[in-house]
């Protein structure tokens, strides 16, 4: 008797995915909070991965009736190395897992965090949900403004220029063989009959004439089969496929003067993340340049960008000047698609704001694909806003500005900023 061995490896993968998503659904609140914490920790370029998430084990325990601590307990343990019957010992004994505690708590009440890994999609779902934008990601971010036309087989309809001769003729020949087949067979047998008849009968026998007539009519009908029928026509098919531009650079400019508090920086960070994710769909390769400024601007790494505490007055133009210089030094060739996003609370030296407007209009906007200014403030627009606003008409489609007061504004603003260009 041979045993039955079943190879199940190709079967239903992800059998637990339903249970997994049920779990995430159920603990959405806790998980969302953990994701918010994780976003604070993680880098902008880091969105390609899932995330390790910890939520309190207490929250997700499954309660059962169990005994609690206390009362009288008797327990048996192995490895006695020193006890005699009747010995009295301190509790707990032998460290945390000594006999005093007995087996690991059966109540499932360990306080340890429950740690697990969200997949990238799960993470992004929740990340986007934080921005109050369920399901919009795919639709919005999948838009790409350049397409390449490629061949994709053949169709039966199309314009004359696209007729594919080889395919059409092959089809026609096939059709002629198929349609003419029965005639050919019949012809062959009639011809054989005729030869037989000619051998055996006098040539003026009506039988022979009949056969000859029939052969002639068959030949005629065979020749009447059209050489090319509209049915045979084949057109080369071309489809449009999105053609990502190869590379892009994204400038993140942030005001780090004292008024940009932690919450504002987090909002800026979410905005930059969203921008990065968006560009990532369009470009194979993205560089990110972080520029922060107070009275002076400097290029920093992401860590410093979001976390360094340094305050001072504000001269926004310093950042724009630095951006201009970096473009000139590193991203001057046409192979770069340049994007810029500036986050600020809008507080600037009065005489610097007009300078910023000029810098943008003359030195930056001509080079970039798009530049967005977001003002993170819950108050009135500041002077920088007023100056920038003058640019919107003359640079529509390349420059835009929006207000963000709370995290839930980020996505609508983001959509607004990128709507015109991509619609």
């Amino acid at each position: 008797m041979t045993v039955r061995i079943v190879d199940r490896r190709q079967d239903s993968r992800n059998k637990s995915s339903i249970n997994r998503s049920r779990f995430i659904r159920r603990y959405k609140g806790q998980i969302r909070k953990a994701v918010a914490d994780a976003i604070a920790q993680r880098g902008i370029r880091d969105l390609e991965n899932g995330e390790k998430i910890g939520i309190s084990g207490q929250d997700i325990s499954e309660p059962q009736f169990h005994h609690g601590q206390g009362g009288v307990r008797q327990s048996v343990h192995p490895g006695n190395d020193r006890f005699q019957s009747g010995d009295e010992v301190e509790r707990p004994l032998g460290g945390a897992s000594g006999p005093g505690r007995g087996q690991a708590s059966p109540d499932g009440e360990g306080l340890d965090d429950f740690v697990f890994t969200l997949s990238r999609d799960e993470f992004l779902d929740i990340f986007f949900e934080e921005l109050a934008l369920p399901n919009l990601v795919k639709r919005q971010l999948a838009r790409i403004d350049e397409y390449k036309r490629v061949r994709a087989g053949y169709t039966q309809t199309g314009v004359a220029t696209n007729i594919n001769l080889v395919r059409t003729m092959r089809g026609a020949a096939g059709r002629r063989v198929a349609v003419g087949g029965p005639y050919a067979t019949r012809l062959r047998s009639l011809q054989a009959e005729l030869e037989l008849a000619l051998d055996e009968m006098p040539p003026d026998e009506p039988e022979i004439a009949h056969l000859q007539r029939e052969i002639a009519s068959l030949k005629l009908r065979r020749e009447a089969i059209p050489f090319i029928d509209p049915f045979d026509l084949r057109y080369s098919n071309r489809i449009r496929i999105p053609q990502p531009s190869t590379q892009a650079v994204m400038f993140c400019l942030m005001d780090v003067s004292g008024s940009m508090d932690e919450a504002k920086k987090q909002m800026a960070k979410r905005f930059f993340m969203l921008l990065y994710l968006f560009l990532n769909r369009n470009y194979e390769h993205i560089e990110v340049v972080f520029i922060r400024h107070h009275t002076a601007a400097e290029e920093v790494d992401e860590e410093n960008f979001f976390h360094a505490r340094e305050t001072g007055g504000t001269i926004v133009s310093s950042a724009l000047l630095l951006m201009q210089r970096i473009i000139g030094e590193r991203y001057a060739s046409d192979t770069w698609n340049i994007y810029g996003a500036q986050a600020s609370d809008g507080d600037n030296w009065n005489d610097d704001s007009p300078k910023c407007r000029e810098l943008l209009a003359n030195a930056i906007l001509p080079w970039v694909q798009y530049f967005a200014y977001i003002e993170i403030t819950d108050g009135e627009p500041q002077n920088l806003w007023d100056e920038y606003e003058k640019l919107t008409a003359s640079h529509a489609g390349v420059f835009a500005l929006q207000h963000i007061a709370a995290a839930s504004d980020i996505y609508p603003v983001f959509r607004e900023l990128f709507r015109k260009r991509l619609a």
Partner: protein
């Protein structure tokens, strides 16, 4: 070297379907020579991920959906990926045919070990042990799980995922106390369930309606006889009581309560026989593979790898080790079965004195009897020998919260053996490790509240989580739920109460 290469079952450490079949044939032959009686079995090759799925669903190939299985999956996955645990290389299902999973990552040696352990060890235990024979029908469980899954999925469609999830949460919370400990349950099967389901629905509802009839009565009919308690006898199976008597449950809700109860019941024998069952499977993989080695069919490399895994599995860390987390059921079980064989074959005077019936008996017959007729608690009480207690250097600790110090009240010496054995057996008595909570009374004439009583064992209190469980119970019951316990003076006092908002009655 006395062993000829040509006699080996297979070469190398990579497994193939062919050499798995060869190993199975050889292991099966030896198992039959030892007289093991097994269900047919089926080996299923699965990936690590599928093994984690299987884990999450408590080993079952089909299960209904619920977030807690997702949680278990994530937990397992996380620990596995961090390397904190190797996946157990085997899961076996008590079904006919018995299904044993082989993980594709395993080497050929490990696969052979799993085949011997699960395919013949556990398998024969499932078929022979009285608890499994009595409580589970191996040929029907898969069908029943399929039924349960479909039924619950249908309910989700009709009543919404949230409603079903909430109900399942409540049922799971009572799962431990959703088993009959003494009565035999009828076999589960898909066919019968389907046929009986509809009539049961109607019948049960009618019965419940009758119970809760609230027509105004004539005073004259109120007599002392009606002051009887309901239920007349306390009921320990809480889910059963809810299924049969909860006033407001819809028929589909009753059916789901029943499904969770039936599945809890199916797993109950596993909880009762962990030491015996794992020990038995370890004993047989060890014995079967060693026999093959003695026959020259396995080489030294195979045995070295096999013994290393085996040793890891049956290792018992001492109480003061950082790895200690109680007694390892594999270690204790394996040692017990080995010891029984030793007592049969080469008993000492001590063994003859302690085990007059089994010393010098035929070990196979003794094994068979022991495997069939015990559960962990009685098995240990019956067979734990002084020699084994010395080998494990067992000691018993008394923890009385009324006293400042712990007391070592028995060790592995002559005066301590019996107490030690009694204590260890008691440790496996589910009857005392699960709290004894019973349905005591329903206020039929009043507010319909349900009263449970906790009969404390050795003054042990209930854990704080019990309050949450009570809340789940009140969801099911639909009216107030009270939990009473006995105070030191012997009076029953209220421990906790869950008031329930009267659910809106929905007329059909």
């Amino acid at each position: 070297m006395t062993k000829k290469r040509s006699r080996l079952i297979a070469e190398g450490s990579e497994w193939t379907l062919e050499n798995l079949a060869l190993y199975d044939a050889e292991i099966g032959r030896v198992a039959r020579e030892f007289g093991l009686d097994c269900y047919r079995h089926q080996l299923e090759i699965i990936t690590a991920e599928q093994m984690m799925d299987a884990y999450a669903a408590i080993g079952m190939p089909v299960y209904y959906h619920h977030w807690s299985f997702g949680k278990h999956f994530l937990e397992t996955e996380n620990r596995y990926k961090r390397g904190q645990m190797g996946l157990a290389y085997e899961i076996v299902i008590n079904s006919d045919p018995c299904i044993a999973y082989l993980m594709e990552e395993n080497t050929l040696t490990m696969q052979a070990l799993v085949i011997a352990h699960a395919g013949y060890g556990h398998n024969s235990f499932f078929k022979g042990n009285h608890l499994f024979k009595q409580w589970t029908s191996a040929d029907a469980i898969i069908d029943y799980l399929v039924f349960a899954r479909h039924y619950i999925a249908e309910c989700e469609e009709r009543h919404g995922v949230d409603a079903v999830e909430h109900l399942l949460d409540a049922c799971h919370a009572l799962g431990n106390l959703g088993v009959d400990r003494y009565k035999r349950s009828p076999p589960l099967s898909l066919e019968k369930e389907k046929v009986r389901q509809r009539e049961r629905e109607a019948y049960l509802q009618a019965q419940v309606n009758d119970l809760w009839r609230t027509l105004p009565r004539h005073d004259a009919t109120v007599s002392a006889a009606e002051e009887r308690r309901f239920p007349e006898e306390p009921e320990e199976n809480l889910l059963y009581f809810v299924e049969k008597n909860a006033p407001l449950l819809e028929p589909w809700q009753r059916e789901i309560v029943r499904i969770v109860r039936k599945i809890s019941q199916y797993f109950y024998p596993q909880r009762q026989t962990q030491v015996m069952n794992e020990g038995w499977a370890c004993f047989w993989h060890y014995t079967l593979l060693n026999t093959l080695y003695d026959e020259g069919k396995l080489n030294e490399g195979f045995m070295l790898e096999f013994l290393q895994s085996h040793t890891n599995v049956v290792y018992q860390p001492p109480y003061n080790s950082p790895w200690y987390s109680g007694i390892n059921p594999y270690a204790l079980g394996f040692a017990l079965w080995r010891d029984i064989r030793r007592i049969c074959e080469t008993p000492t005077d001590e063994d003859r004195q302690w085990f007059p019936e089994i010393a010098d008996s035929d070990w196979r017959e003794t094994f068979d009897f022991a495997m069939r007729n015990f559960k962990d608690e009685s098995f240990i009480a019956q067979y734990l020998s002084p020699r084994l207690m010395r080998e494990f250097r067992l000691f018993a600790v008394l923890d009385d919260d009324a006293k400042a110090m712990l007391k070592v009240d028995a060790i592995h010496d002559e005066p301590g053996y019996r107490a030690l054995r009694r204590n260890l057996a008691e440790q496996y008595n589910l009857g005392s490790s699960d709290p004894n909570i019973q349905v005591w009374n329903v206020d039929l004439r009043g507010d319909r509240s349900l009263t449970l009583r906790h009969f404390a064992h050795q003054r042990r209190p209930l854990s704080p989580a019990s309050l949450v469980v009570l809340e789940h119970l009140s969801t099911l019951w639909g009216f107030n739920v009270r939990l009473e316990h006995q105070n030191p003076a012997g009076e029953w006092t209220l421990l906790a109460e869950r008031k329930t908002e009267r659910r809106k009655h929905t007329d059909p």
